[in-house]
């Protein structure tokens, strides 16, 4: 790259550093401080981290965030595979239109979607009203709304497009002849998926899964507004610490712990992914 290019890129790099790295650095620094009412004591200490490790609450909140991420990744993968297959193999000239359509719910904004789901899932909502009208139930099913079921359902709905995008890319790279070869060799449909489609679309699944996972871990609006009394997330706990308790150091420490664990998780996923690609490029380099 030319020197001029470097100079032109400098503002962008600086802006990235200022908007991205500096807050992270501040967050990290704060995690070693202590708070005394409103005074921040800047003598570095690991007490905040000790508190997190010693706290059943924060440990379980972080664990729950990762579990939610895994559950939603699983749901979106199960739904996403047929959808991605349809887009990739039956989309034809409508492919880009279908992909755009898939993203439409994202344009509506969090709150609109959340309230729309309330209308659908509520005790007086569309589903319960219909089921009562049809005589299937006499009392509304309360667990449809304000429950982990509701929040995971809606999280899956929200982030499904990202999974489909990943899987769609996976399918685009999958040669149909491989599927036909598997069928030709006698594999029933489930085996075709398990032995050929799944391994061949794995990079797409990992890419989509990483996106979904990170977004689920970072989402607190949906669980808070649809998850009911048990809808607390580690993010809303951090928010409480920053907002109402002024305990920025502890909040920072939890945020840093979460980020570190997320980073570790992503690194493992990225490593798996790179090994696949690396393996491939190495092999094609030899051939």
């Amino acid at each position: 790259m030319s020197r001029t290019g470097n100079w032109l890129a400098a503002p962008v790099v600086l802006a990235l550093i200022a908007t991205c790295l500096v807050p992270m650095g501040v967050l990290f620094a704060y995690s070693f401080f202590q708070v005394d009412f409103v005074a921040i004591n800047t003598d570095p200490t690991l007490k905040n981290y000790a508190k997190i490790i010693g706290s059943e609450t924060y440990r379980s909140l972080i664990g729950r965030a990762f579990l939610s991420g895994a559950v939603v990744v699983a749901i979106t993968a199960v739904i996403g595979y047929p959808v991605a297959w349809f887009v990739a193999r039956r989309g034809g000239e409508w492919k880009s239109a279908l992909l755009t359509l898939l993203l439409v719910p994202l344009y509506t904004g969090d709150m609109v979607r959340i309230f729309a789901w309330r209308v659908i899932l509520g005790a007086e909502g569309v589903i319960n009203r219909f089921a009562q009208w049809a005589g299937l139930i006499t009392e509304p099913i309360q667990v449809l709304l304000f429950s982990p079921i509701a929040s995971h359902l809606v999280l899956a709905y929200n982030f499904l497009p990202f999974m489909v995008m990943g899987l769609w890319l996976g399918y685009e790279a999958l040669d149909d002849a491989l599927v036909e070869a598997a069928r030709d060799l006698g594999a029933p449909p489930v085996a075709v998926f398990r032995r050929v489609v799944l391994p061949m679309t794995l990079p797409g699944l990992i890419a989509g899964g990483m996106m979904v996972f990170v977004m689920v871990v970072g989402d607190y609006m949906t669980p808070q507004l649809l998850g009911g009394a048990s809808g607390v997330t580690v993010i809303s706990a951090i928010n409480d610490l920053f907002g109402t308790a002024f305990d920025w150091p502890l909040g920072s420490a939890i945020a840093c712990t979460l980020l570190a664990l997320l980073g570790l998780f992503l690194a493992v996923a990225a490593y798996a992914l790179s090994r696949m690609n690396l393996g491939r490029s190495l092999i094609s380099g030899e051939a």
Binding site: P23, V26, A123, L145, Q224, G228, A229, D240, G243
Partner: protein
């Protein structure tokens, strides 16, 4: 305190805390221009017009989204240009402890003579007999319920004891008030509520965990709660006043309960940042006096509707208008428990997170 505090992302708080002060330098002008950090609904142009016309002072408004945001801004160095702030009365402690506010000279504010006794006798906003946060306006955070869906007026026990309303109740997702209500239900003496010891906190935690099973959800924005009342998902909630007015106006039969265990009252205050002096300080005192006076008080009672902290406008209001803002029968104030700042608030927040995560 009428805005949602949870909507912000925590990174914004960090950014606000770290950004160097970018507020403009004070403009040099013949008549001072005051910068007021305030809730939008308290500083409508028509509320302030008489004062501006009379004094020639101009006012720039910096609207706040939450008390925490105001504190964060001021602490980040915004105090060099802000002339008046509007913290919650219970939060003034934070500003005092951070050295952000100056003593208020009551002698320069004639209308302070008309401040209600409940505030005069309260230690909130004061230290060593000096006033740092002057009560401005107040209200209650009541137990609101659907009259048409409940047989009788509930009290706080409905949130702690199993009944046919279990699963149709909502509680605000806010540590301070959740613990206060549990303490009231447990009949912990009022003077101990903000000084709970370990045993009392453990009792509170047990009660709140029991409460969790009875709730439909925790609410975090008042619009959200109004929605839950309207759709019948929730029949009773620890609430703010607006859903009561709003849904009654829409034809629902809403009630405000008067729980025997007590009601939570809140007040916002006016405070002057350190460093405001001279001509500006004089202008700020004049503005405060106006805000505690009858013109502003009447407009706030009708438009808010909120009650100011003085009796300035009381006699000018109709009985109905007085009832709306709870100043018809002043004895009701006796059952209030004013929101204060608990000394072990970090433990309260930790407890609240434990309850929610349980």
């Amino acid at each position: 305190m009428t805005h949602d505090m949870h909507r912000r992302r925590f990174l914004q708080a960090v950014l606000a805390g770290t950004a160097a002060s970018a507020l403009p330098l004070k403009a040099l002008a013949a008549q001072p221009d005051l910068l007021w950090m305030v809730w939008e609904n308290l500083a409508k142009d028509e509320y302030l017009a008489p004062f501006l016309a009379r004094s020639g002072v101009t006012i720039s408004k910096n609207f706040i989204g939450s008390d925490d945001e105001q504190f964060a801004k001021l602490r980040a160095g915004g105090d060099s240009s802000v002339d008046l702030i509007t913290p919650g009365l219970d939060k003034v402690d934070y500003y005092m402890a951070s050295g952000l506010v100056q003593e208020i000279d009551l002698a320069k504010i004639p209308n302070t003579a008309k401040i209600y006794d409940a505030f005069k006798n309260s230690p909130l906003g004061k230290a060593d007999g000096k006033t740092y946060g002057l009560p401005f306006y107040w209200g209650i955070n009541p137990l609101v319920y659907r009259k048409d869906l409940m047989d009788a007026e509930p009290d706080w026990s409905v949130f702690f004891e199993d009944s046919k309303y279990a699963g149709k109740l909502a509680m605000r997702d806010y540590a301070l008030e959740a613990v206060m209500i549990a303490a009231m239900y447990l009949e912990i003496p009022r003077d101990q509520i903000f000084h709970l010891d370990d045993a009392q906190l453990a009792e509170v935690k047990k009660a709140l965990i029991a409460q969790k099973k009875l709730l439909r959800t925790y609410w975090s924005s008042i619009g959200d709660l109004t929605n839950l009342f309207a759709t019948g998902e929730v029949v009773a909630a620890y609430s703010w006043v607006p859903p009561y007015h709003e849904l009654n106006a829409r034809g629902l039969s809403m009630g405000i309960a008067n729980p025997k265990q007590g009601t939570i009252g809140w007040a916002d205050s006016l405070a002057i940042p350190k460093g405001v002096e001279g001509e500006k300080l004089e202008a700020v005192y004049a503005l405060i006096d106006y805000l505690l006076g009858e013109d502003y008080g009447k407009m706030l009672a009708v438009g808010g509707p909120y009650a100011q902290s003085t009796s300035s406008a009381r006699d000018m209001l109709s009985k109905e208008e007085r009832e709306t803002i709870f100043i018809e029968d002043m004895s009701v104030m006796d059952s209030f428990i004013w929101r204060s700042n608990p000394e072990r608030y970090n433990d309260w927040v930790a407890l609240w997170n434990e309850v929610k995560a349980s």
